[in-house]
Protein backbone atom coordinates (compact mmCIF):
# COMPACT_ATOMS: atom_id res chain seq x y z
CA UNK A 1 0.00 0.00 0.00
CA UNK A 2 2.83 2.35 0.94
CA UNK A 3 4.47 1.66 -2.44
CA UNK A 4 1.40 2.76 -4.35
CA UNK A 5 1.18 5.97 -2.38
CA UNK A 6 4.84 6.80 -3.04
CA UNK A 7 4.52 6.13 -6.76
CA UNK A 8 1.38 8.26 -6.97
CA UNK A 9 3.24 11.17 -5.44
CA UNK A 10 6.06 10.75 -7.93
CA UNK A 11 3.82 10.46 -10.98
CA UNK A 12 3.29 14.14 -11.92
CA UNK A 13 7.02 14.89 -11.83
CA UNK A 14 7.84 11.62 -13.57
CA UNK A 15 5.38 12.33 -16.40
CA UNK A 16 6.90 15.73 -17.05
CA UNK A 17 10.45 14.45 -16.85
CA UNK A 18 9.84 11.46 -19.10
CA UNK A 19 7.61 13.34 -21.54
CA UNK A 20 9.88 16.33 -22.02
CA UNK A 21 13.37 15.02 -21.31
CA UNK A 22 13.90 11.29 -21.42
CA UNK A 23 11.54 10.31 -24.23
CA UNK A 24 12.74 13.09 -26.60
CA UNK A 25 16.35 12.19 -25.87
CA UNK A 26 15.81 8.51 -26.67
CA UNK A 27 13.68 9.39 -29.68
CA UNK A 28 16.44 11.68 -30.99
CA UNK A 29 19.05 8.99 -30.60
CA UNK A 30 16.71 6.58 -32.40
CA UNK A 31 16.02 9.03 -35.25
CA UNK A 32 19.72 9.50 -35.87
CA UNK A 33 19.94 5.93 -37.16
CA UNK A 34 17.29 6.47 -39.87
CA UNK A 35 17.48 8.07 -43.31
CA UNK A 36 15.65 11.23 -44.30
CA UNK A 37 12.18 10.26 -45.43
CA UNK A 38 10.22 11.74 -48.34
CA UNK A 39 6.85 11.01 -49.92
CA UNK A 40 8.51 8.75 -52.46
CA UNK A 41 11.08 7.05 -50.24
CA UNK A 42 10.03 6.43 -46.65
CA UNK A 43 12.59 6.75 -43.89
CA UNK A 44 14.55 3.52 -43.28
CA UNK A 45 17.18 2.22 -40.91
CA UNK A 46 20.69 3.07 -42.17
CA UNK A 47 22.83 2.35 -39.09
CA UNK A 48 25.73 4.76 -38.67
CA UNK A 49 25.47 6.34 -42.12
CA UNK A 50 24.27 9.66 -40.68
CA UNK A 51 27.29 9.77 -38.38
CA UNK A 52 29.62 9.01 -41.26
CA UNK A 53 28.02 11.88 -43.20
CA UNK A 54 28.43 14.16 -40.20
CA UNK A 55 32.15 13.45 -39.92
CA UNK A 56 32.50 14.09 -43.66
CA UNK A 57 30.51 17.34 -43.44
CA UNK A 58 32.86 20.37 -43.68
CA UNK A 59 30.18 22.67 -42.23
CA UNK A 60 29.96 20.47 -39.13
CA UNK A 61 33.69 20.90 -38.53
CA UNK A 62 33.44 24.60 -39.29
CA UNK A 63 30.67 25.22 -36.73
CA UNK A 64 32.46 23.04 -34.18
CA UNK A 65 35.65 25.10 -34.56
CA UNK A 66 33.61 28.30 -34.42
CA UNK A 67 31.96 27.06 -31.26
CA UNK A 68 35.34 26.28 -29.69
CA UNK A 69 36.61 29.80 -30.41
CA UNK A 70 33.34 31.25 -29.21
CA UNK A 71 33.62 29.33 -25.90
CA UNK A 72 37.25 30.32 -25.42
CA UNK A 73 36.44 33.92 -26.25
CA UNK A 74 33.44 34.32 -23.98
CA UNK A 75 33.92 32.10 -20.91
CA UNK A 76 37.18 33.29 -19.27
CA UNK A 77 36.53 36.96 -20.04
CA UNK A 78 32.96 37.01 -18.77
CA UNK A 79 33.91 35.17 -15.56
CA UNK A 80 36.82 37.48 -14.79
CA UNK A 81 34.66 40.49 -15.59
CA UNK A 82 31.81 39.16 -13.42
CA UNK A 83 34.12 38.60 -10.45
CA UNK A 84 35.69 42.03 -10.85
CA UNK A 85 32.30 43.73 -10.99
CA UNK A 86 31.07 41.75 -7.98
CA UNK A 87 34.11 42.76 -5.92
CA UNK A 88 33.59 46.35 -6.99
CA UNK A 89 29.92 46.59 -6.00
CA UNK A 90 30.37 44.54 -2.81
CA UNK A 91 32.16 47.49 -1.21
CA UNK A 92 30.78 50.69 0.20
CA UNK A 93 30.36 52.78 -2.91
CA UNK A 94 28.34 55.92 -3.59
CA UNK A 95 25.22 54.97 -5.56
CA UNK A 96 25.93 51.28 -5.07
CA UNK A 97 22.40 50.12 -5.90
CA UNK A 98 22.51 52.08 -9.15
CA UNK A 99 25.85 50.58 -10.19
CA UNK A 100 24.63 47.08 -9.36
CA UNK A 101 21.54 47.63 -11.45
CA UNK A 102 23.58 49.00 -14.34
CA UNK A 103 25.78 45.89 -14.34
CA UNK A 104 22.75 43.62 -14.20
CA UNK A 105 20.61 45.38 -16.84
CA UNK A 106 22.05 43.55 -19.90
CA UNK A 107 20.97 40.26 -18.32
CA UNK A 108 17.33 41.15 -17.87
CA UNK A 109 16.94 42.40 -21.44
CA UNK A 110 15.39 39.87 -23.84
CA UNK A 111 17.87 38.31 -26.26
CA UNK A 112 16.09 39.78 -29.27
CA UNK A 113 16.27 43.31 -27.81
CA UNK A 114 19.98 42.87 -27.08
CA UNK A 115 20.62 41.73 -30.62
CA UNK A 116 18.76 44.76 -31.95
CA UNK A 117 20.77 47.16 -29.78
CA UNK A 118 24.02 45.64 -30.99
CA UNK A 119 22.82 45.57 -34.57
CA UNK A 120 22.64 49.33 -34.26
CA UNK A 121 26.18 49.45 -32.82
CA UNK A 122 27.60 47.29 -35.61
CA UNK A 123 25.78 48.77 -38.60
CA UNK A 124 28.33 49.92 -41.23
CA UNK A 125 28.90 53.70 -41.53
CA UNK A 126 25.86 54.86 -39.54
CA UNK A 127 26.31 52.50 -36.55
CA UNK A 128 27.65 53.73 -33.19
CA UNK A 129 31.06 52.08 -33.54
CA UNK A 130 31.70 53.40 -37.04
CA UNK A 131 30.50 56.88 -36.09
CA UNK A 132 32.97 57.00 -33.21
CA UNK A 133 35.75 55.56 -35.36
CA UNK A 134 35.08 58.13 -38.08
CA UNK A 135 35.92 60.85 -35.58
CA UNK A 136 39.50 59.55 -35.46
CA UNK A 137 39.57 59.10 -39.21
CA UNK A 138 38.96 55.36 -39.58
CA UNK A 139 36.52 54.64 -42.36
CA UNK A 140 33.47 52.43 -42.12
CA UNK A 141 33.68 48.71 -41.64
CA UNK A 142 31.03 46.03 -42.03
CA UNK A 143 31.62 44.30 -38.69
CA UNK A 144 28.97 41.65 -39.15
CA UNK A 145 29.57 41.21 -42.89
CA UNK A 146 33.27 40.46 -42.72
CA UNK A 147 34.12 36.80 -41.98
CA UNK A 148 37.22 37.99 -40.09
CA UNK A 149 35.33 40.14 -37.55
CA UNK A 150 31.86 38.63 -37.31
CA UNK A 151 32.63 35.98 -34.66
CA UNK A 152 34.55 38.52 -32.57
CA UNK A 153 31.60 40.92 -32.76
CA UNK A 154 29.25 38.24 -31.43
CA UNK A 155 31.72 37.27 -28.70
CA UNK A 156 31.87 40.86 -27.43
CA UNK A 157 28.09 41.10 -27.34
CA UNK A 158 27.74 37.79 -25.49
CA UNK A 159 30.26 38.84 -22.84
CA UNK A 160 28.35 42.10 -22.37
CA UNK A 161 25.17 40.12 -21.75
CA UNK A 162 26.55 37.33 -19.57
CA UNK A 163 28.97 39.06 -17.22
CA UNK A 164 26.18 40.81 -15.28
CA UNK A 165 24.34 37.53 -14.83
CA UNK A 166 27.39 35.77 -13.40
CA UNK A 167 28.11 38.83 -11.24
CA UNK A 168 24.90 38.18 -9.29
CA UNK A 169 26.14 34.73 -8.26
CA UNK A 170 29.52 36.09 -7.20
CA UNK A 171 27.90 38.95 -5.32
CA UNK A 172 25.66 36.55 -3.40
CA UNK A 173 28.66 34.37 -2.54
CA UNK A 174 30.73 37.37 -1.44
CA UNK A 175 28.00 38.53 0.90
CA UNK A 176 28.06 35.14 2.59
CA UNK A 177 31.72 35.50 3.55
CA UNK A 178 32.01 36.68 7.16
CA UNK A 179 33.74 40.10 7.38
CA UNK A 180 35.86 38.87 10.31
CA UNK A 181 37.95 36.86 7.84
CA UNK A 182 39.16 40.08 6.24
CA UNK A 183 39.75 41.63 9.66
CA UNK A 184 41.74 38.62 10.82
CA UNK A 185 43.96 38.71 7.76
CA UNK A 186 44.35 42.48 8.07
CA UNK A 187 45.71 42.04 11.58
CA UNK A 188 48.21 39.55 10.19
CA UNK A 189 49.30 42.11 7.63
CA UNK A 190 47.78 40.58 4.51
CA UNK A 191 47.11 43.10 1.75
CA UNK A 192 43.99 43.17 -0.39
CA UNK A 193 45.47 41.09 -3.21
CA UNK A 194 46.96 38.51 -0.85
CA UNK A 195 43.64 38.16 0.96
CA UNK A 196 41.80 37.76 -2.35
CA UNK A 197 44.21 35.12 -3.65
CA UNK A 198 44.54 33.11 -0.45
CA UNK A 199 41.09 33.50 1.13
CA UNK A 200 38.34 35.07 -1.00
CA UNK A 201 39.03 33.29 -4.30
CA UNK A 202 39.35 29.79 -2.78
CA UNK A 203 36.14 30.34 -0.85
CA UNK A 204 34.39 31.37 -4.09
CA UNK A 205 35.39 28.14 -5.89
CA UNK A 206 31.93 26.51 -5.60
CA UNK A 207 30.46 29.58 -7.29
CA UNK A 208 33.16 29.57 -9.94
CA UNK A 209 32.43 25.94 -10.76
CA UNK A 210 28.72 26.65 -11.00
CA UNK A 211 29.28 29.70 -13.19
CA UNK A 212 31.77 27.83 -15.36
CA UNK A 213 29.35 25.00 -16.12
CA UNK A 214 26.62 27.52 -16.91
CA UNK A 215 28.95 29.46 -19.16
CA UNK A 216 29.94 26.33 -21.08
CA UNK A 217 26.33 25.30 -21.57
CA UNK A 218 25.42 28.84 -22.66
CA UNK A 219 28.20 28.93 -25.21
CA UNK A 220 26.64 25.92 -26.93
CA UNK A 221 23.12 27.24 -26.55
CA UNK A 222 23.28 30.42 -28.60
CA UNK A 223 20.62 30.67 -31.32
CA UNK A 224 18.65 33.91 -30.91
CA UNK A 225 21.50 36.35 -31.56
CA UNK A 226 22.57 34.56 -34.70
CA UNK A 227 18.99 34.48 -35.90
CA UNK A 228 18.70 38.26 -35.63
CA UNK A 229 22.21 39.36 -36.52
CA UNK A 230 23.86 37.06 -39.04
CA UNK A 231 21.92 33.86 -39.65
CA UNK A 232 25.26 32.15 -39.27
CA UNK A 233 26.85 34.01 -42.16
CA UNK A 234 28.77 35.17 -44.01
CA UNK A 235 29.79 31.77 -45.38
CA UNK A 236 29.18 30.11 -41.97
CA UNK A 237 31.82 32.36 -40.36
CA UNK A 238 29.55 32.95 -37.34
CA UNK A 239 27.60 29.71 -37.44
CA UNK A 240 27.51 27.73 -34.19
CA UNK A 241 26.51 24.14 -33.51
CA UNK A 242 23.00 24.72 -32.16
CA UNK A 243 22.14 27.17 -34.94
CA UNK A 244 23.36 24.65 -37.48
CA UNK A 245 21.05 22.05 -35.92
CA UNK A 246 18.18 24.53 -36.08
CA UNK A 247 18.89 25.26 -39.74
CA UNK A 248 19.19 21.58 -40.64
CA UNK A 249 15.93 20.71 -38.95
CA UNK A 250 13.73 23.65 -39.84
CA UNK A 251 15.23 25.15 -43.01
CA UNK A 252 16.42 22.01 -44.78
CA UNK A 253 13.86 19.76 -43.02
CA UNK A 254 16.45 17.01 -42.57
CA UNK A 255 15.30 16.01 -39.08
CA UNK A 256 17.30 12.79 -39.09
CA UNK A 257 20.60 14.53 -39.75
CA UNK A 258 19.62 17.21 -37.20
CA UNK A 259 19.06 14.38 -34.70
CA UNK A 260 22.56 13.10 -35.43
CA UNK A 261 24.03 16.55 -34.80
CA UNK A 262 22.00 16.81 -31.59
CA UNK A 263 23.44 13.54 -30.32
CA UNK A 264 26.91 14.93 -31.01
CA UNK A 265 26.06 18.09 -29.02
CA UNK A 266 24.64 16.10 -26.09
CA UNK A 267 27.72 13.92 -26.05
CA UNK A 268 30.04 16.96 -26.01
CA UNK A 269 28.13 18.69 -23.21
CA UNK A 270 27.99 15.56 -21.04
CA UNK A 271 31.69 15.01 -21.55
CA UNK A 272 32.55 18.57 -20.51
CA UNK A 273 30.29 18.59 -17.46
CA UNK A 274 31.85 15.34 -16.25
CA UNK A 275 35.36 16.64 -16.86
CA UNK A 276 34.65 19.81 -14.92
CA UNK A 277 33.23 17.98 -11.94
CA UNK A 278 36.06 15.46 -11.78
CA UNK A 279 38.90 17.88 -12.39
CA UNK A 280 37.69 20.73 -10.22
CA UNK A 281 35.96 18.86 -7.43
CA UNK A 282 39.23 18.35 -5.58
CA UNK A 283 39.97 22.05 -5.68
CA UNK A 284 36.56 23.18 -4.51
CA UNK A 285 35.88 23.69 -0.84
CA UNK A 286 32.21 23.20 -0.01
CA UNK A 287 31.10 24.37 3.41
Amino acid sequence: MKHVYGWLLLTPAAILLIGFTHYPTLRTIGESFFSRGSSLRPSRFIGLDNYRAMFDDPIFWKVLTNNLWFALGTIPTSIILALTMALLVNRALPGRALVRMAFFTPTILPMIAVANIWLFFYTPDIGLIDQILSLVGISGHNWLGDPATVLGAIIVMTIWKEAGFFMIFYLAALQHLPPELREASRLEGAGRWHHFRRVTFPLLMPTTLFVLINAVINSFKLVDHLFILTKGGPNNASNLLLYYIFETAFSYFDTNFAATLTVALLFLLALMALAQFYLLDKRVHYR
Binding site: E180, S185, A190, V199
Partner: protein, 353 residues
Protein backbone atom coordinates in the same frame (compact mmCIF):
# COMPACT_ATOMS: atom_id res chain seq x y z
CA UNK B 1 59.09 50.68 28.92
CA UNK B 2 57.43 47.28 29.04
CA UNK B 3 54.73 45.99 26.76
CA UNK B 4 52.04 47.95 28.48
CA UNK B 5 48.95 49.36 26.86
CA UNK B 6 47.61 52.79 27.54
CA UNK B 7 44.30 54.20 26.40
CA UNK B 8 43.80 57.93 26.87
CA UNK B 9 40.48 59.72 26.49
CA UNK B 10 39.38 57.35 23.73
CA UNK B 11 36.20 58.35 21.90
CA UNK B 12 34.02 56.85 19.20
CA UNK B 13 31.07 58.65 17.68
CA UNK B 14 28.71 57.67 14.89
CA UNK B 15 26.86 60.82 13.96
CA UNK B 16 25.12 62.03 17.10
CA UNK B 17 25.59 58.75 18.90
CA UNK B 18 28.57 58.48 21.24
CA UNK B 19 29.50 54.82 21.60
CA UNK B 20 32.68 55.38 23.61
CA UNK B 21 32.99 58.49 25.75
CA UNK B 22 36.45 59.59 26.95
CA UNK B 23 37.61 56.19 28.18
CA UNK B 24 41.07 56.01 29.76
CA UNK B 25 42.87 53.08 31.33
CA UNK B 26 46.27 51.47 31.53
CA UNK B 27 47.06 47.79 31.28
CA UNK B 28 50.38 46.96 32.90
CA UNK B 29 52.79 44.58 31.14
CA UNK B 30 51.90 40.89 31.40
CA UNK B 31 48.58 41.48 33.10
CA UNK B 32 45.07 40.59 32.06
CA UNK B 33 42.54 43.37 31.87
CA UNK B 34 38.86 42.58 31.41
CA UNK B 35 36.53 45.06 29.74
CA UNK B 36 33.21 44.15 31.29
CA UNK B 37 29.74 45.48 30.66
CA UNK B 38 26.27 44.77 29.33
CA UNK B 39 25.75 44.55 25.56
CA UNK B 40 25.94 47.94 23.88
CA UNK B 41 28.27 49.46 26.47
CA UNK B 42 31.04 49.98 23.91
CA UNK B 43 33.47 47.35 25.14
CA UNK B 44 33.90 45.64 21.77
CA UNK B 45 34.25 49.00 20.05
CA UNK B 46 37.13 49.89 22.40
CA UNK B 47 38.81 46.58 21.60
CA UNK B 48 38.37 47.09 17.87
CA UNK B 49 39.86 50.58 18.16
CA UNK B 50 42.88 49.14 19.98
CA UNK B 51 43.23 46.58 17.18
CA UNK B 52 42.90 49.29 14.54
CA UNK B 53 39.84 47.75 12.91
CA UNK B 54 37.81 50.79 13.92
CA UNK B 55 39.04 54.34 13.69
CA UNK B 56 39.04 56.36 16.92
CA UNK B 57 37.06 59.63 16.83
CA UNK B 58 39.28 61.07 19.55
CA UNK B 59 41.94 60.19 22.11
CA UNK B 60 45.06 58.08 21.78
CA UNK B 61 46.27 54.53 22.20
CA UNK B 62 49.84 53.71 23.26
CA UNK B 63 51.43 50.28 23.06
CA UNK B 64 54.83 49.98 24.77
CA UNK B 65 54.96 53.77 24.89
CA UNK B 66 54.44 54.14 21.14
CA UNK B 67 51.45 56.09 19.86
CA UNK B 68 49.61 53.62 17.59
CA UNK B 69 46.32 55.49 17.25
CA UNK B 70 46.60 55.90 13.47
CA UNK B 71 48.99 53.04 12.67
CA UNK B 72 48.03 50.11 10.41
CA UNK B 73 46.56 47.19 12.42
CA UNK B 74 49.30 44.81 11.30
CA UNK B 75 52.06 47.03 12.69
CA UNK B 76 50.61 47.76 16.13
CA UNK B 77 51.96 44.64 17.75
CA UNK B 78 48.58 43.10 18.58
CA UNK B 79 47.00 39.74 17.93
CA UNK B 80 43.30 39.10 18.24
CA UNK B 81 40.89 36.26 18.92
CA UNK B 82 37.46 36.89 17.42
CA UNK B 83 34.13 35.89 18.92
CA UNK B 84 33.37 33.87 15.76
CA UNK B 85 37.03 32.67 15.72
CA UNK B 86 37.36 33.92 12.08
CA UNK B 87 39.10 30.72 10.96
CA UNK B 88 39.68 30.29 7.24
CA UNK B 89 37.37 27.38 6.40
CA UNK B 90 39.31 26.15 3.37
CA UNK B 91 42.67 25.95 5.16
CA UNK B 92 43.79 23.18 7.48
CA UNK B 93 44.38 23.85 11.17
CA UNK B 94 48.13 24.11 10.60
CA UNK B 95 47.72 26.48 7.64
CA UNK B 96 45.31 28.60 9.66
CA UNK B 97 47.81 28.95 12.48
CA UNK B 98 50.74 29.93 10.27
CA UNK B 99 48.70 32.12 7.89
CA UNK B 100 50.10 35.30 9.42
CA UNK B 101 53.67 33.99 9.53
CA UNK B 102 53.49 33.31 5.80
CA UNK B 103 52.20 36.83 5.17
CA UNK B 104 55.08 38.19 7.22
CA UNK B 105 57.50 36.08 5.15
CA UNK B 106 58.92 34.08 8.03
CA UNK B 107 61.12 31.17 6.88
CA UNK B 108 59.75 27.64 6.63
CA UNK B 109 61.94 26.19 9.40
CA UNK B 110 61.02 28.83 11.92
CA UNK B 111 57.39 28.59 10.88
CA UNK B 112 57.36 24.86 11.52
CA UNK B 113 59.04 25.29 14.89
CA UNK B 114 56.64 27.99 16.03
CA UNK B 115 53.65 26.00 14.75
CA UNK B 116 54.74 22.92 16.72
CA UNK B 117 55.25 24.96 19.86
CA UNK B 118 51.91 26.78 19.62
CA UNK B 119 50.01 23.60 18.74
CA UNK B 120 51.45 21.84 21.77
CA UNK B 121 50.61 24.75 24.05
CA UNK B 122 46.92 24.55 23.15
CA UNK B 123 46.81 20.76 22.68
CA UNK B 124 46.20 20.64 18.93
CA UNK B 125 49.30 18.72 17.85
CA UNK B 126 47.25 15.75 16.61
CA UNK B 127 44.75 17.79 14.60
CA UNK B 128 46.91 19.96 12.35
CA UNK B 129 45.72 18.32 9.13
CA UNK B 130 42.01 18.76 9.84
CA UNK B 131 39.77 21.45 8.43
CA UNK B 132 38.02 23.79 10.92
CA UNK B 133 34.61 22.29 10.07
CA UNK B 134 35.85 18.93 11.35
CA UNK B 135 36.59 20.34 14.81
CA UNK B 136 34.38 20.89 17.84
CA UNK B 137 33.67 24.42 19.08
CA UNK B 138 36.31 24.12 21.79
CA UNK B 139 38.93 22.91 19.32
CA UNK B 140 38.13 25.75 16.92
CA UNK B 141 38.62 28.13 19.83
CA UNK B 142 42.05 26.59 20.42
CA UNK B 143 43.01 27.13 16.78
CA UNK B 144 42.11 30.80 17.13
CA UNK B 145 44.21 30.96 20.31
CA UNK B 146 47.15 29.24 18.63
CA UNK B 147 46.95 31.72 15.76
CA UNK B 148 47.21 34.56 18.25
CA UNK B 149 50.07 32.91 20.18
CA UNK B 150 52.13 32.00 17.13
CA UNK B 151 52.31 35.63 16.01
CA UNK B 152 54.27 36.44 19.22
CA UNK B 153 52.78 39.90 19.46
CA UNK B 154 53.14 41.50 22.88
CA UNK B 155 49.48 42.47 23.23
CA UNK B 156 46.67 39.95 22.79
CA UNK B 157 43.06 41.07 22.32
CA UNK B 158 40.13 38.77 22.99
CA UNK B 159 36.59 39.59 21.90
CA UNK B 160 34.16 37.45 23.93
CA UNK B 161 36.16 34.34 23.03
CA UNK B 162 34.13 31.91 25.12
CA UNK B 163 30.59 32.99 24.37
CA UNK B 164 29.99 30.23 21.80
CA UNK B 165 31.02 27.40 24.13
CA UNK B 166 28.96 25.39 26.57
CA UNK B 167 29.22 26.07 30.31
CA UNK B 168 31.59 23.23 31.19
CA UNK B 169 34.01 23.94 28.37
CA UNK B 170 33.85 27.62 29.18
CA UNK B 171 35.19 27.16 32.70
CA UNK B 172 37.95 24.88 31.38
CA UNK B 173 39.00 27.39 28.75
CA UNK B 174 38.89 30.22 31.29
CA UNK B 175 41.62 28.70 33.38
CA UNK B 176 43.55 27.59 30.31
CA UNK B 177 43.60 31.07 28.78
CA UNK B 178 44.61 32.56 32.11
CA UNK B 179 47.43 30.01 32.49
CA UNK B 180 48.67 30.68 28.95
CA UNK B 181 48.58 34.41 29.47
CA UNK B 182 50.72 34.09 32.62
CA UNK B 183 53.10 31.57 31.12
CA UNK B 184 53.75 33.60 27.96
CA UNK B 185 53.71 36.93 29.81
CA UNK B 186 51.10 38.37 27.43
CA UNK B 187 49.50 41.72 27.98
CA UNK B 188 45.88 40.80 27.41
CA UNK B 189 42.68 42.78 26.96
CA UNK B 190 39.68 40.55 27.31
CA UNK B 191 36.14 41.64 26.45
CA UNK B 192 33.19 39.88 28.05
CA UNK B 193 29.70 40.45 29.40
CA UNK B 194 30.08 37.56 31.82
CA UNK B 195 31.06 38.82 35.26
CA UNK B 196 32.23 35.33 36.30
CA UNK B 197 34.88 35.44 33.57
CA UNK B 198 35.90 38.86 34.80
CA UNK B 199 36.07 37.82 38.45
CA UNK B 200 38.04 34.62 37.83
CA UNK B 201 40.51 35.79 35.20
CA UNK B 202 41.23 39.47 35.59
CA UNK B 203 44.07 41.34 37.26
CA UNK B 204 42.05 44.44 36.55
CA UNK B 205 38.40 44.86 35.64
CA UNK B 206 37.09 47.88 33.78
CA UNK B 207 33.35 48.01 34.11
CA UNK B 208 31.68 50.02 31.36
CA UNK B 209 28.21 51.44 31.05
CA UNK B 210 26.90 53.47 28.12
CA UNK B 211 30.40 54.03 26.75
CA UNK B 212 31.87 55.29 30.01
CA UNK B 213 34.03 53.70 32.67
CA UNK B 214 31.74 53.00 35.61
CA UNK B 215 34.43 51.63 37.90
CA UNK B 216 37.81 49.99 37.48
CA UNK B 217 40.07 48.03 39.75
CA UNK B 218 40.95 44.51 40.83
CA UNK B 219 37.93 42.15 40.85
CA UNK B 220 37.76 41.90 44.67
CA UNK B 221 37.63 45.66 44.98
CA UNK B 222 34.64 45.92 42.63
CA UNK B 223 32.96 43.20 44.62
CA UNK B 224 33.71 44.52 48.07
CA UNK B 225 33.47 48.25 47.46
CA UNK B 226 31.15 48.93 44.55
CA UNK B 227 31.21 52.67 43.89
CA UNK B 228 27.82 52.69 42.22
CA UNK B 229 24.55 50.84 42.36
CA UNK B 230 25.20 49.66 38.79
CA UNK B 231 28.48 48.02 39.80
CA UNK B 232 26.81 46.47 42.82
CA UNK B 233 24.10 44.98 40.63
CA UNK B 234 26.48 43.79 37.91
CA UNK B 235 29.25 42.15 39.96
CA UNK B 236 28.44 39.06 41.97
CA UNK B 237 26.06 36.17 41.32
CA UNK B 238 23.34 36.40 42.37
CA UNK B 239 23.58 40.21 42.26
CA UNK B 240 23.42 42.48 45.28
CA UNK B 241 19.93 43.21 46.64
CA UNK B 242 19.03 46.87 46.25
CA UNK B 243 16.07 47.93 48.40
CA UNK B 244 14.42 51.25 47.64
CA UNK B 245 14.09 52.89 51.07
CA UNK B 246 11.34 55.33 49.99
CA UNK B 247 8.97 52.51 49.30
CA UNK B 248 9.30 50.91 52.71
CA UNK B 249 6.54 52.04 55.10
CA UNK B 250 8.61 51.29 58.16
CA UNK B 251 12.38 51.68 58.37
CA UNK B 252 12.53 50.21 61.85
CA UNK B 253 12.37 46.69 60.51
CA UNK B 254 15.36 47.21 58.27
CA UNK B 255 17.23 48.76 61.17
CA UNK B 256 16.38 45.71 63.26
CA UNK B 257 18.14 43.49 60.72
CA UNK B 258 21.47 45.07 61.64
CA UNK B 259 21.13 45.74 65.39
CA UNK B 260 19.74 49.23 64.85
CA UNK B 261 22.31 50.64 62.46
CA UNK B 262 21.38 54.25 61.91
CA UNK B 263 20.18 55.32 58.48
CA UNK B 264 20.54 58.77 56.90
CA UNK B 265 17.69 61.06 57.76
CA UNK B 266 16.42 61.73 54.23
CA UNK B 267 16.19 58.46 52.37
CA UNK B 268 14.71 60.05 49.22
CA UNK B 269 15.63 57.85 46.23
CA UNK B 270 18.22 56.10 48.34
CA UNK B 271 18.97 52.42 47.79
CA UNK B 272 20.07 50.02 50.46
CA UNK B 273 22.36 47.27 49.21
CA UNK B 274 23.14 43.96 50.82
CA UNK B 275 24.65 40.89 49.16
CA UNK B 276 22.64 37.64 49.16
CA UNK B 277 25.58 35.79 50.72
CA UNK B 278 25.58 38.15 53.75
CA UNK B 279 21.94 37.50 54.62
CA UNK B 280 21.21 35.03 57.42
CA UNK B 281 17.97 33.53 58.64
CA UNK B 282 17.33 34.44 62.26
CA UNK B 283 14.76 34.61 65.08
CA UNK B 284 14.10 38.30 64.56
CA UNK B 285 15.03 41.12 62.17
CA UNK B 286 13.51 41.96 58.78
CA UNK B 287 10.37 39.97 58.11
CA UNK B 288 10.01 38.34 54.71
CA UNK B 289 7.97 35.72 52.95
CA UNK B 290 9.56 32.82 51.03
CA UNK B 291 8.61 32.92 47.34
CA UNK B 292 10.87 30.24 45.90
CA UNK B 293 13.83 28.08 46.81
CA UNK B 294 16.30 27.10 44.08
CA UNK B 295 18.50 24.21 45.16
CA UNK B 296 21.86 24.34 43.34
CA UNK B 297 23.65 21.43 45.04
CA UNK B 298 26.26 23.07 47.23
CA UNK B 299 23.79 25.73 48.26
CA UNK B 300 20.38 27.22 47.69
CA UNK B 301 19.14 30.57 46.52
CA UNK B 302 16.03 31.75 48.33
CA UNK B 303 13.75 34.30 46.72
CA UNK B 304 12.04 36.39 49.39
CA UNK B 305 9.57 39.25 49.47
CA UNK B 306 9.57 42.02 52.03
CA UNK B 307 6.53 44.23 51.46
CA UNK B 308 6.55 44.48 47.67
CA UNK B 309 10.33 44.30 47.26
CA UNK B 310 12.25 41.22 46.23
CA UNK B 311 15.33 39.96 48.02
CA UNK B 312 17.64 37.07 47.20
CA UNK B 313 19.49 35.18 49.91
CA UNK B 314 21.95 32.37 49.42
CA UNK B 315 22.68 29.74 52.00
CA UNK B 316 24.75 26.57 52.05
CA UNK B 317 23.14 23.18 51.69
CA UNK B 318 19.45 22.61 51.10
CA UNK B 319 17.27 25.23 52.77
CA UNK B 320 14.47 23.58 54.78
CA UNK B 321 11.84 26.18 53.92
CA UNK B 322 8.37 25.97 52.51
CA UNK B 323 6.97 28.46 50.06
CA UNK B 324 4.86 31.12 51.73
CA UNK B 325 6.65 30.66 55.05
CA UNK B 326 7.38 33.75 57.16
CA UNK B 327 11.07 34.20 58.05
CA UNK B 328 13.31 36.84 59.66
CA UNK B 329 16.54 38.07 58.12
CA UNK B 330 19.67 39.57 59.63
CA UNK B 331 22.99 40.76 58.27
CA UNK B 332 26.07 42.43 59.75
CA UNK B 333 26.22 46.26 59.59
CA UNK B 334 29.47 46.17 57.61
CA UNK B 335 27.66 44.30 54.79
CA UNK B 336 25.45 47.31 54.09
CA UNK B 337 26.12 49.50 51.05
CA UNK B 338 24.13 52.71 50.75
CA UNK B 339 23.63 54.35 47.38
CA UNK B 340 22.20 57.82 46.97
CA UNK B 341 19.59 58.78 44.39
CA UNK B 342 22.19 59.28 41.64
CA UNK B 343 23.55 55.76 42.19
CA UNK B 344 26.83 56.69 43.93
CA UNK B 345 27.80 55.37 47.34
CA UNK B 346 27.33 57.50 50.42
CA UNK B 347 31.08 57.50 51.05
CA UNK B 348 31.78 58.82 47.55
CA UNK B 349 29.07 61.43 47.97
CA UNK B 350 30.85 62.95 50.94
CA UNK B 351 34.08 63.14 48.96
CA UNK B 352 32.49 64.54 45.79
CA UNK B 353 29.47 66.49 46.97
Amino acid sequence: MGNDLQVVCLEKRWGDFTAVDRVSFTVAESTLCVLLGPSGCGKSTILRMIAGLEEASGGSIYIAGRDVTTIDPARRGVSMVFQSYALFPHLSVGENIVFGLKVRKIGATERAARLRQAAELVGLAELLERKPAQLSGGQQQRVALARAIVSQQPVCLMDEPLSNLDAKLRSEMRSEIRALQKRLGLTMVYVTHDQIEAMTMADQVILLKDGRVEQSGPPHELYERPATAFTAGFIGAPPMNLLVLDELPNLNEIKAATDDMSLPRSPAGMRYGVRPEDIELAEDGLSARVEAVDFLGAGSIITLHHQNQQLLASCSGRAALTIGQQVYLRWPPEAVHLFSANGRTEAEESIHP
